[in-house]
């Protein structure tokens, strides 16, 4: 954890990932009248994943706005409001429903500033419960962050811990451009230390969560936890893994990754989105296009989601995304050359 000095003094509490986000939302609502939350069932229901919780009771229906089931219109309204003085934080009920709002996110939010020659900006924060593991099948389990990472004008963030979830959300709010936060659903109930009050975690900075010398594992969201778990097992086997939480998909912190691989000479990338044409390809490109290429002692391995939609059956669902065992065998392979 790299807490700024000021918040290191403030009391640390154990909060869940969902509570940490709510904490950030409450701070945002309390400190800036322009902030409004918008989304489906975020009021009395408290949000599908209980992130907004009691905020409607604390800040009122004028600022915690239940929208109809109208993702395109809702996201577009948030764009228009951001363009003209409000600071909307828009919750998609599931990240999959970004597909219905693609037009406003990709054609409008991402491009308005550029198309208008810098005359405007769109300070919009969008939150997306993402990922598989809940048995909700193909239309409620996707990891679409790489899609949006492909769009200049958008920033794409994935927090792995409660601490980062709060800090990155507040950083997104301070950002003058559209920021999309992908929150892994399986992380909502995980707990971690979270300081009180305001602090930010910089967008565009990866974090080295565990230092090591034999191999670098670059991971996102829930894969960070799986990579750390794998690293403990590998340590018993004499393999010293460095684990990097990418934290931001776009703009990507290539420097941290390159510096690590220059040291370890081996790279495994673990992410939940479909393996092909995704985050792994981009991280790998950072290496092969850099001086770290010369240090590589083994082929890079990308561990990503299967080339299939997420299935319903729990065993199939697990098989569709990298698990700790997959990370273990990939790392053993690159380190011992026994893939």
């Amino acid at each position: 954890m790299t807490a700024p000095a000021a918040v290191l003094d403030s009391p640390l509490r154990e909060l869940s990932y969902a509570e940490a986000i709510r904490d950030a939302l409450a701070i945002a609502l309390a400190e800036d009248e322009r902030v409004v939350l918008m989304g489906e069932d975020i009021g009395v229901y408290g949000g599908a994943f209980q992130v907004s919780g009691d905020l409607v009771h604390r800040f009122g229906e004028e600022r915690v706005i239940d929208t109809p089931i109208s993702e395109l219109g809702g996201a577009g309204m948030a764009v228009g409001a951001a363009l003209t003085g409000l600071r909307p934080i828009y919750e998609f009920q599931f990240s999959d429903f970004a597909t219905l709002a693609m037009e406003q996110i990709v054609n409008q939010a991402a491009k308005l500033r550029f198309m208008l020659g810098g005359a405007v900006s769109v300070p919009l924060v969008m939150r997306f419960p993402a990922g598989s593991g809940t048995g909700a099948a193909a239309q409620h389990s996707q990891s679409l962050e790489a899609w949006f990472g492909h769009v200049p004008g958008l920033k794409v963030v994935q927090a792995a811990t409660p601490y980062d979830a709060k800090g990155l959300l507040l950083a997104a709010l301070d950002d003058p451009d559209p920021v999309m936060l992908f929150e892994h659903k399986l992380l909502y109930k995980t707990k971690g230390p979270v300081p009180e009050g305001r602090y930010t975690v910089p967008i565009g900075k990866a974090e080295v969560c565990r230092t090591g010398s034999n191999v670098t594992i670059v991971a996102t969201a829930i894969m960070v936890h799986r990579a750390l778990e794998a690293a403990e097992v590998l340590a018993q086997e004499g393999i010293d893994a460095e684990v990097i939480d990418l934290r931001t998909v776009r703009p990507m912190d290539r420097e941290t990754v390159v510096a690590s691989v220059a040291k370890t000479s081996r790279l495994v990338v673990a992410y939940e989105g479909v393996r092909t044409l995704g985050i792994g390809a981009e991280v790998s490109a950072s290496i092969v296009e850099s001086e770290a290429f010369d240090y590589l002692d083994a082929p890079i391995v990308r561990l990503g989601g299967a080339e299939a939609p997420i299935p319903y059956n729990p065993e199939l669902e697990k098989a569709a995304v990298p698990q700790v065992a997959d990370i273990l065998s990939a790392v053993r392979g690159v380190v011992r050359g026994t893939r």
């Binding site: 099948a137 299935p311 199939l316």
Partner: protein, 371 residues
């Protein structure tokens, strides 16, 4: 469950049952008067044979017991994920499917168990799907939210609110171009009418006079958001006027009323006169999904609707008209219970899918490592 005392009508308290929409005349009078021409007999009694009516009741009961069984299996950890129960809405599903053939298509929703059974699905294969088994309708890939039975014309439930509506319009285009003489019924909730897909679909169906019946099952809430808070029109059927099609609001807990409205709409569609919008006003007794805490509605409201049980009501109607005896109903209850028990046993015994087949059916022609 007893049928003796259950003949009350829910008209008085139910919001908007039986009110006609402003869009036109969606209820052309029945062409057949039926056995008796007594004017105040319900449409269903006039129009359908006792066998058809008893079968309709059996299907409603089957839906109810199926969903209770699914809920119980979920509690026991046999089913993972979530599910959306339609308990309380059975008359709407069965009434709407009553006149559909296996060739007619439906598109359904996340709350689609009732539609699936109403269209003729085998409850064993449905349970098998919920249990994630290879013998399930989707071979364990879809689960509750994607339940489908293509052989019986059910093109599938849907995880996306409003996702099925344009697909229904496309199926109706096929029916028209291929001259199959079939119709398509598209089910969706009150929440779906605020998605663009609803509006785009109704317009296209209307301009090309496609044989589709749009059924909005208005159960008063889209998750926690009431229709009053989400929808500008007083009743959903008012929206039909914007697309120049007949719109009508019916009491969705009255099987006869639903069947009557659908009968007219189906005849209109088969005659090439185009689509209709039917708003079927009903209520879900259970929460939106398994994680709902019901914070947005009162227990009194729920209880008032439970008192308007569509099954007891229809059973009462059949008893009143001498179509079903007390013993007949009891026998039906027993048979349905046995059917559900056998279905669950079949599902439990069925094999799990092979995890090696993870990428099967991503494409029609199996392509090795498309990645």
């Amino acid at each position: 469950m007893s049928i003796s005392s259950e003949t009350e009508r829910c008209g008085a308290q139910a919001p908007a049952p039986g009110r006609k929409g402003s869009g036109g005349s969606a209820r052309p009078a029945s062409r057949r008067a039926g056995k008796t021409s007594a004017g105040n007999e319900p449409f269903a009694v006039r129009h359908y044979s006792p066998e058809v009516l008893r079968e309709a009741l059996r299907k409603m009961l089957l839906i109810r017991r199926f969903e209770e069984g699914a809920e119980d299996s979920y509690m026991r950890g046999l089913i993972h994920g979530t599910m959306h129960l339609s308990i309380g809405q059975e008359a709407s599903a069965v009434g709407a499917c009553l006149e559909l053939t296996d060739q007619d298509k439906i598109t359904s929703t996340h709350r689609g168990h009732g539609h699936c059974i109403a269209k003729g699905a085998d409850v064993g294969r449905m349970f098998a799907e919920f249990f994630g088994k290879e013998s399930g309708y989707c071979r364990g890939r879809g689960g509750s939210m994607h339940i489908a039975d293509v052989d019986k014309g059910n093109l599938g439930a849907n995880g996306i609110v409003g996702g099925g509506i344009p697909i229904a319009v496309g199926a109706a285009l096929s029916a028209k171009r291929l001259k199959t003489g079939t119709v398509v019924t598209s089910f969706f909730g009150d929440g779906a009418v605020n998605e663009g897909s609803f509006h785009e679909s109704l317009n296209m169906a209307a301009i090309w006079k496609l044989p589709v019946i749009f059924i909005c099952e208005n159960n008063h809430y889209g998750m926690s958001t009431s229709v009053e808070r989400s929808t500008a029109v007083r009743q959903v059927s008012d929206r039909a006027a914007a697309y120049s099609m007949p719109g009508v609001t019916v009491d969705g807990n009255d099987l006869s009323a639903v069947a009557e409205a659908c009968h007219g709409a189906i005849e209109r569609a088969r005659a090439g006169e185009g689509p209709s919008l039917i708003e079927s006003v009903t209520y879900r007794w259970r929460g939106h999904s398994k994680s709902d805490r019901n914070r947005y509605r009162s227990k009194d409201e729920i209880d008032a609707w439970i008192a308007r049980d569509p099954i007891r009501r229809f059973a009462g109607l059949l008893s009143e008209h001498g179509i079903l005896s007390e013993e007949g109903f009891a026998r039906m209850e027993t048979e349905v219970a046995e059917q559900i028990a056998a279905a669950i046993a079949f599902a439990k015994e069925s094999p799990d899918p092979d995890t090696a087949a993870l990428t099967r059916d991503v494409y029609t022609t199996q392509t090795e490592s498309v990645g």
